[in-house]
């Protein structure tokens, strides 16, 4: 039997990365917000504390944080000549469930998109010509986003400072910064936190890439 609850201003469907941040913004502006989430409530302690969180069989192999395939199944095919079949166990992509959604188990890599990513159609025409697009036929549905990098930059900045992203800027207002990614789109200021400590494999990769004349830079994770 349906139970009628007191009305609220906003209901978020899901309390993952998007839902929780939208709910926070709206609640801070005075709206009454309820978030709906399937799966268990989970909190840093006790759910993500050591040593239980280091259980590789449970989390990496059996995928305990992911959606239950018995309840949620999607079908998949590689091309239109194949028959789409159910994904019976998650392998190539991992949708999460529970409070925090995929935000709980993602790798935290917080890259910005490049300037050209927002104007992919115009960029491709400018770079390769209209004939290149025409040759791809009617199935090519590439479009520009409708917003540009410059318009979104303040929001990237706000998001990175909200989450405390670690990294080294490579381009601040057009000035190339040593140690960062010299090819990145211009950002208005430095990352809120310095890069994480360099791991052994990271150091090997950096030295190898540098010796070949490339421009290795530090990942921007949210940790």
């Amino acid at each position: 039997m349906a139970e009628t609850l007191k009305p609220v201003d906003v209901v978020t469907i899901g309390v993952g990365l998007t839902g929780s941040m939208a709910a926070l913004e709206m609640a801070q502006s005075g709206l009454k917000v309820v978030g709906l989430e399937r799966g268990a409530p989970r909190f840093t302690v006790p759910d993500f504390q050591s040593p239980a969180i280091h259980d590789e069989l449970r989390f990496s192999i059996r995928k305990a944080m992911m959606q239950d395939n018995v309840k949620v199944a999607v079908t998949f095919r590689n091309n239109s000549n194949e028959t789409a079949l159910p994904i019976r166990r998650w392998e190539s992509f991992l949708p999460g469930q529970g409070l925090g959604g995929s935000f709980v188990h993602w790798n935290g890599q917080s890259f910005r998109a490049q300037v050209a990513d927002f104007v992919w159609r115009s960029h491709t025409i400018q770079r390769y010509g209209q004939k290149f697009l025409d040759a791809c036929g009617p199935e090519l549905t590439i479009q520009d986003w409708g917003v540009t990098y410059d318009e979104l930059e303040p929001y990237y900045d706000r998001f990175e400072y909200l989450c405390g992203v670690s990294g080294k800027a490579g381009n601040i207002k057009g000035q190339i910064q040593p140690g960062g990614n010299p090819f990145e789109a211009p950002r208005s200021r430095e990352y809120p936190n310095p890069p994480l400590k360099e791991t052994y494999f990271g150091a090997i990769f950096r030295k190898g890439a540098e010796s070949l004349g490339y421009h290795p830079y530090r990942n921007p994770p949210q940790i």
């Binding site: 799966g39 268990a40 006790p46 759910d47 050591s50 040593p51 239980a52 280091h54 259980d55 590789e56 069989l57 449970r58 192999i61 059996r62 995928k63 305990a64 992911m66 239950d68 395939n69 018995v70 199944a73 998949f76 095919r77 590689n78 194949e82 028959t83 079949l85 159910p86 994904i87 019976r88 166990r89 392998e91 529970g98 400590k197 360099e198 791991t199 052994y200 494999f201 150091a203």
Partner: protein, 252 residues
């Protein structure tokens, strides 16, 4: 593949994930000779392996599994193999539990031929898959059971399963072999709370320190030797056993 190269391969693949150098065997008690400690570890494991109480496998099935895992990860002069590390016990408890019963496995139709990129598409739960395949294998080998073959014959039989093309009660033999191999690796390297990796022998072998809370102070100390005694999920940082209701699984 010889036993030596197989062991080397396992050490190499294990060490890649752990990002550390293979450790010299050492315990908290530095006065204990490494050899004596290793002998004690091996005998503890041997005793545990001998005492396995099977809840899923019947006698014939268990005999095949014990003999097969002993060929997939054989013991050598220095370290126990999968049999001594209680891997049959791990596989038995997995198949007798939720994973074996098809937890998190979508089991409705359609059932039809797949592209290999479309993943597992058989109607069997892991328990049904092992039961069907082992039944067929033991029927086929009733005159010369697998455990009674010599090691070369056993390897050759396992290789035939791996090569595929053989039907084992509805299970393609290569699919069964993949399940057997993956379960063996899981049992050998997973935390001992799951019933394999007895006394953390595989972790000691590859120098994996286990479930320490943090490596923050060590992550940029490159090239140092990490030779801590490994730590199981069942212990806290002081080696005390603690009871955590969240291990190994808690239903939502």
């Amino acid at each position: 593949m010889t036993e030596v190269s197989r062991r080397t391969l396992i050490k190499a693949t294990g060490a890649i994930g752990a990002a550390i150098l293979p450790a010299v065997f050492e315990t908290a008690n530095a006065a204990t000779p490494a050899g004596a400690e290793l002998a004690a570890t091996s005998s503890i494991c041997a005793a545990a392996a001998a005492a396995t109480t099977y809840v899923f496998f019947n006698g014939e099935e268990a005999a095949f599994i014990e003999a097969a895992v002993a060929r997939l990860i054989p013991a050598d002069d220095e370290w126990p193999g999968a049999l001594e590390a209680c891997v049959p016990n791990y596989i038995d408890k997995q198949l007798g539990g939720a994973w074996g019963a098809g937890e998190r496995l979508y089991r409705s139709g359609p059932w039809q031929p797949r592209a290999w990129t479309q993943g597992y598409q058989l109607p069997f739960t892991p328990a049904e898959l092992f039961r069907a395949a082992l039944g067929e294998i033991n029927k086929e080998l009733s005159h010369r059971p697998f455990p009674r073959m010599n090691p070369e014959e056993q390897d050759s039989y396992l290789k035939k399963l791996e090569a595929g093309g053989k039907d084992l009660g509805g299970v393609p033999s290569e699919v069964f072999f993949t399940h057997l191999w993956e379960s063996t690796v899981e049992g050998f390297f997973s935390d001992p709370v799951y019933g394999g990796n007895c006394n953390m022998v595989s972790w000691r072998m590859i120098g994996f320190p286990g479930a320490y809370a943090s490596y923050y102070d060590l992550v940029d100390q490159h090239g140092i030797k990490l030779d801590r005694v490994p730590m199981s999920l069942a212990e806290d940082a002081h080696g005390h056993i603690h009871l955590n209701p969240g291990i190994p699984a808690r239903s939502p």
